[in-house]
Subunit: 547 residues, 2 copies
Amino acid sequence: MKGVLRCSANYIPLSPISFLERAALLYGDKVSIIYQNIRFSWKETHQRCLDFASALVQLGISPLDVVAAFAPNVPAMYELHFGVPMAGAVLSALNTKLDPTMLAVKLEQLEAKIILVHHQFVDVVLKALDKLRKRKFKLPTLVLIPEEEFDYQTPTPINAADLPTGSLNYNQLLEMGKLDDQFEIIRPNNECDPITVNYTSGSTGDPKGAVYSHRAVYLNSLAAIFNFNMEMTQKPVFLWTVDMFRCSGWCYTWAIAALGGTNVCLTTLSAKVIFEAIALHKVTHLCGKPIILNIIADASDTDQLIPLPSRVEIIVAGALPAPKILMTVMEMGFNISHGYGMTEVLGPAIVTPWKPDEDHHLSNYSNGVHNVMLEGIDVKDSNTMESVPFDGKTMGEIMFRSNTVMLGYLKNSEATQEAFRDGWYRTGDLGIRHPDGHIQMKDRAKDIILSKGEAISTLEVEAVLLSNPKVMEAAVVGQNEVAFAFVKLKEGCFASSKEIIKFCSENLPAFMVPRDVIFGDLPANSTGKVQKSVLRERVNFIESQDR
Amino acid sequence: MKGVLRCSANYIPLSPISFLERAALLYGDKVSIIYQNIRFSWKETHQRCLDFASALVQLGISPLDVVAAFAPNVPAMYELHFGVPMAGAVLSALNTKLDPTMLAVKLEQLEAKIILVHHQFVDVVLKALDKLRKRKFKLPTLVLIPEEEFDYQTPTPINAADLPTGSLNYNQLLEMGKLDDQFEIIRPNNECDPITVNYTSGSTGDPKGAVYSHRAVYLNSLAAIFNFNMEMTQKPVFLWTVDMFRCSGWCYTWAIAALGGTNVCLTTLSAKVIFEAIALHKVTHLCGKPIILNIIADASDTDQLIPLPSRVEIIVAGALPAPKILMTVMEMGFNISHGYGMTEVLGPAIVTPWKPDEDHHLSNYSNGVHNVMLEGIDVKDSNTMESVPFDGKTMGEIMFRSNTVMLGYLKNSEATQEAFRDGWYRTGDLGIRHPDGHIQMKDRAKDIILSKGEAISTLEVEAVLLSNPKVMEAAVVGQNEVAFAFVKLKEGCFASSKEIIKFCSENLPAFMVPRDVIFGDLPANSTGKVQKSVLRERVNFIESQDR
């Protein structure tokens, strides 16, 4: 149209950096971060991030260089989500459960220029660096995040001599940053430039580094605010029970700044920590893995806080525990929502508020609300790309298209192209479409068991197993069209395979009942997901012995 | 970065069309629109918008053609905000207070291909078309929105013979749209493509058509949700007291769809209508001009609803009425916020919750919260572009830069370039910066009176005048460095100039006290803003007579 003009007055590349700048301006004196005895204001957080960014530039970090981090949810970890992008660089917060070998592989793939490491994980990082050194890889500079990271005077408990030459510590960097009072934020030229790399759990093969853009996380941070069942707009007090290395803390890292809320940081997860934070800081929202619900439900009388100052909102992503546990947590004063998503879509893309009248403890997302930024959501035939009918039975692959989908997998064009084949992100999950348009997730495509023409959803069988009061954990895998169940019993409980099979028969159609039930600990990967491939091997082994 | 790929899986041009599609999927059976005895569901609203878009394409409307509308806040007007963009076209909802001459000028500038007109405004539109016909301008097709727009059987009260040949009615178009069951939405190729043209009030010269992009309104709709003091995320029931032709209803047209809320439509504004809607439909949010507050405060006992089912949130933009009125409205159960903005920034860009302890009834936005999408906000020297110091006294021009700023003025490159000079949108308003970073608006640049080196903010003088219990309306203009006040008294009130001047002396520094007070009706333009240029002429006239 004539007369219009795109310029810096009306077009600014979207970036969550602006959320922090606005928080510093509007909520400057409000508490941004609480950690132990530490309190920062938004003005201070803003300044610290600027200082850190300035130091990165002084260290020679160039736009799009990767800065890696290996730390729990401490304030420095929060700050990196702004400080690194403010230097034009890309943050990769790595899973602290990685062993030195896995960590080395990732640092090499990332070509990380710097690795920030929390003092409690220094050993793992040093071992990983050793491996890289042997492979003649240019080592990243180690930056230590000391325990008392906020007291410049306190010496770090780590002996500096044990660290590679040239190592620094976080506080030194902040001091260094102050030296350049002319520092200016290096903003993205293009809003589709990368801001973080988040590794997938690798439950479906090699871990892949999902690259997020400034645009995607800007939009998803705002969408994440709407994901909560209850309003999150009134300056939430957010307890960091979700790992910041998990989908950038599901983007709440940036969302809390957008709202001018308060971040309550922590390094350990326990009932005591959760209830203390609620009592002391009036926590309003938290999220993470479903294990949080078990932790809350199992709180001892002395740890519990009754009543809560006000209801607390929780979103968990992953298989829900037994309804009894959900009920207990709800009655304690928490509202529970269940998220469905994956690293590739920046966290939960569909969120379902859990209601106590649901008899099934496995929410299947069939009442789920997909996030407001998710432009396309469908269940399609993987080959023809035809949408399945809204008949509540035809199975297809769940697919998304959205500005909140990753840019792709780092240095893995093949995997990227496969994930985006035909212009949709393919989740690898199977689902059906109900007549009302809602999507119900059935199973991972590779987990589903085809038995005499019928599809057994392992998730549905697991749900029944978990509803048995003796069962702590359960996983089902298929072998030769038959289901096998792996069960970990609760402490002090006893059960036979026969007893559990009988329980399944009473609660499932005959074709879905597992042939056998095997007891013991379930093997989990670094993100806590059960490794079904290991279980399949165990079945093979048992079956071969039986023969 | 290697491995990444921008494609339709992860990049979709932002457009509010997706909000409607999502609402139809998630909230299909929920009530989308209430109007008199009419109820639509989101599924129906979605289908009606699709049908309308399909009809537009059948009528030969091409992408970026303009469809004009001249109607109050009826359901059809809401539907146009989706239906027109779904055909790739641009909507221009015009102020229904325009006279035929002004309307003709706009239709010509817009090169409107279609004008939708509500039956009650047919006369004005026919006269405007007559003017265009005389100027050999290709006439837009007239589409009548009949009173009973939802009943295909009811004949329109307008005699079809009185309309130009080829005129249609809205219901015919919806029927026509159904004929093409292959219709597909024409989505923007580029998210910066225009979606609406909203005319400014023209208080600063000729009315200008501010062009909004899909991207800007998508982002601003979400930002508008956060503008409300209380949460708006729980499916609001929104009463349409703000004109949809005003900044696209401040973008709540699209925001309500994003939330799956309910739109309560209306054609007239009165205490009875407001309280009935609250009682019947449990309205949660409304907004508009400050006169709404007077209407509510003046409600008769029979019209009032006490107590309200729950507190209702109101945002008003414009000069607030006296604190007593605000207090009354607050005590009736409403929470009040005060918005500062303009057509060029898509409505209120800064919103200040009003608190009853404020002695000043003119909120000066100094506690205001600028919207979460507003990337840049500053007070600058208009010439040097230097930011003013945070000293609470140095005056400068308030400037914004944001993705929620218009694309520019339709066919007025000169005005566009002037508005965006040096890469910021210049509001033409003067303000100061407080030490805490908050901005305080002082006055329109052209209204401020410079008196012996001191700046008199006409807004501040007006605020004091309005705090006089006898004063209904007030406006202040300057002449030769002196302030003159124009006052409209409340019904049944009497006052002399001397009395009002004395009142000002008691409440203002001497240099700010008006030299004279002139009583009578205040001249308003089509958007209800006082025409200060007319008042300045009156002062000239009075002064010349005095000489």
